[in-house]
């Protein structure tokens, strides 16, 4: 599968305006929570593009506005300056091509696992019965076929993430936005989930924008890693192509020399930003 990077590159050169997702000089400024009339710029002049079928990770220190970028891509947040395009169309309101997997628990607590997975179909006009029938195989795919009638509070953190994954993927979005989806999980569960995600992804290449603060996670999963500077006013400061073979096993690939080279290279840049970010939080 070493040609996947080449395919992705070809897609990108073919027409940048047809990228699955494109952010053009996106700047987001918020009213500051502590000062009257003060403003806080989360991200500044972010330009990036994600090709169809490409897996892109964005890494950066805490508080660098990673989630802000995803919210703009999702259409949940309108940028103060710049614009977001999806398949050449400006994003106005909710991005119809995007699925979003949130960092926090986002399942509807009053719906069972099965109903949660079926929700997206139901919102799209599929009758409830049929939606639930179609949700069943998805639950099975994330290994929860016996847990369909459980409510979120009856599931473990890892199980909830699986439900959320099925819930996001069932409506077949062309772009999947993931905001540190596995950060709350323990390391074993996390690697299992990462492999499962890669399996699901390689079955029908969607574009993925994966936010994480874990560089190893980013490298082991992505085609490309983008580095964000420390906030406020975070900018994209680095772009690294990950030319590791697919299919990958996230645990094994961490031992390969190429992975370590990449890790060293990117970490060299990220480290400074993390220190800067840390210094800023200490000042506050």
């Amino acid at each position: 599968m070493s040609d996947s990077a080449a395919v992705a590159a070809a897609l990108r050169t073919e027409g940048a305006d047809k990228a699955a997702l494109r952010l053009d000089g996106v700047t987001c400024t918020f009213p500051s929570p502590d000062g009257r009339g003060q403003t806080y710029t989360a991200v500044q002049g972010v330009t990036l593009s994600v090709a169809a079928g490409e897996f892109v990770s964005i890494v950066g220190p805490t508080g660098s506005g990673k989630s802000t970028i995803l919210n703009v891509a999702a259409g949940l947040l309108a940028p103060s300056a710049g614009r977001a395009l999806t398949f050449g169309e400006p994003v106005d309101g909710i991005n119809p091509h995007a699925g979003y997997m949130f960092q926090a628990d986002a399942l509807m607590p009053w719906k069972s696992a099965l109903e949660n997975v079926a929700a997206g179909l139901e919102f799209r006009g599929v009758p409830r019965r049929e939606a639930e029938e179609r949700a069943r195989p998805w639950l099975a795919r994330v290994g929860l076929d016996r847990f369909g009638d459980r409510y979120p509070h009856q599931l473990s953190g890892g199980m909830r993430k699986r439900v959320a994954l099925a819930q996001t993927l069932i409506v077949d979005p062309k772009i999947v936005l993931m905001d540190e989806p596995f950060s709350a999980l323990d390391i074993q569960t996390r690697q299992l989930m990462e492999n499962e995600l890669l399996d699901l992804w390689s079955a029908d290449r969607k574009s993925v924008v994966f936010i994480t603060h874990d560089l190893e996670e980013a490298i082991s999963m992505s085609d490309r890693v983008l580095v964000l500077s420390a906030g406020p006013g975070a900018r994209l400061i680095g772009e690294y192509r990950v030319d590791l073979e697919r299919p990958r096993d996230v645990a094994e690939i961490r031992m390969t020399p190429r992975f370590l080279d990449l890790h060293r290279e990117i970490w060299g840049q990220l480290r400074e930003e993390v220190l800067k970010g840390y210094a800023q939080t200490k000042l506050k």
């Binding site: 999702a74 949940l76 909710i94 119809p96 995007a98 699925g99 979003y100 949130f102 926090a104 628990d105 986002a106 399942l107 509807m108 607590p109 009053w110 719906k111 069972s112 929700a119 997206g120 139901e122 919102f123 799209r124 409510y151 979120p152 509070h153 009856q154 599931l155 473990s156 819930q167 996001t168 409506v171």
Partner: protein
């Protein structure tokens, strides 16, 4: 896991037995005190007379009519108050300007002891059931209103954003997100709301009516029939306990998705 072990309580049948013992003890003390004339039976009635009166009322069927009236008033007050509370709660929560403008007035009306409205309602709506329903509605409405308002305001922004990303329209958001969230708050106040609906009905009847449990108690009081008063109170108590049990069953059915604090049988990590 808690470090210290909580002292174990006796099993359910034992507790039930103790509870029944308290009830019997209460009637026994009452009986002894009135039988020995330490307490005057005229002012305090006697438990046997009260039970006998209650039994004969049920046997002759007189009480069923009054019970039915009170139940009808309670149900109407509860349904109307709840529906209005939900509607206004939603409206206020979704329209910030409305809620800010009306805020002091809502608080003022809610602070007013609603009992003083009973004579006004009797004047406007007559002595039939509707004046009691109106009184009950003014009590139920505010409980439901505040809870729905809170429920809509406290919808998790992440859950909301997630539903939007999954393609939910405004109608879907209402039906699948706002309503369940608000209803969970409504149901958590269900006991209070039903209780207040009944307070409205009984107090209304007490202050002026021709039927209902409140009317029966008032009638008995008018002729110094203490046994009648206590009998009325007994029926009222049984009535409340039964309704409360029904509410608990409904609550359990509708809120099964909520985590229960004391979950021991199938607790998950």
């Amino acid at each position: 896991m808690a470090v210290a072990r909580v002292k174990r309580l006796p099993s359910r049948p034992v507790i039930l037995l103790l509870q029944v013992a308290v009830l019997i003890g209460f009637f026994l003390i009452w009986h002894v005190l009135t039988a020995t004339k330490i307490l005057s039976p005229f002012f305090f009635g006697t438990p046997l007379a009260v039970l006998e009166r209650t039994w004969s009322d049920f046997a002759s069927g007189v009480i069923w009519y009054h019970l039915g009236i009170t139940l009808l008033e309670t149900a109407l007050a509860f349904v109307i108050g709840t529906v209005a509370g939900i509607a206004f709660g939603f409206w206020f929560a979704r329209a910030p300007l409305v809620s800010i403008v009306f805020d002091p007035y809502i608080k003022a009306v809610n602070a007013l002891p609603r009992v003083v409205l009973a004579p006004i309602f009797a004047l406007w709506l007559g002595l039939g059931i509707w004046s009691k329903v109106a009184l009950g509605v003014t009590l139920v409405f505010f409980i439901v209103f505040f809870n729905v308002y809170q429920g809509v305001k406290e919808v998790s922004p992440v859950v909301l954003a997630n539903a939007k990303m999954l393609g939910a329209s405004n109608r879907h958001l209402f039906r699948h997100v706002y309503l369940p969230s608000a209803l969970s708050w409504v149901f958590s106040s269900l006991h209070t709301a039903v209780g207040f609906a009944m307070v409205g009905a009984v107090v209304g009847e007490y202050l002026g009516s021709a039927a209902g449990l409140g009317y029966r108690i008032h009638q008995a009081e008018g002729v110094f029939d203490t046994v009648g008063v206590f009998s009325g109170m007994l029926v009222l108590t049984i009535f409340v306990v039964v309704i409360d049990a029904v509410v608990t069953i409904i609550e359990k059915r509708l809120l099964h998705w909520r985590p229960q604090e004391a979950q021991t049988t199938n607790a998950q990590g």
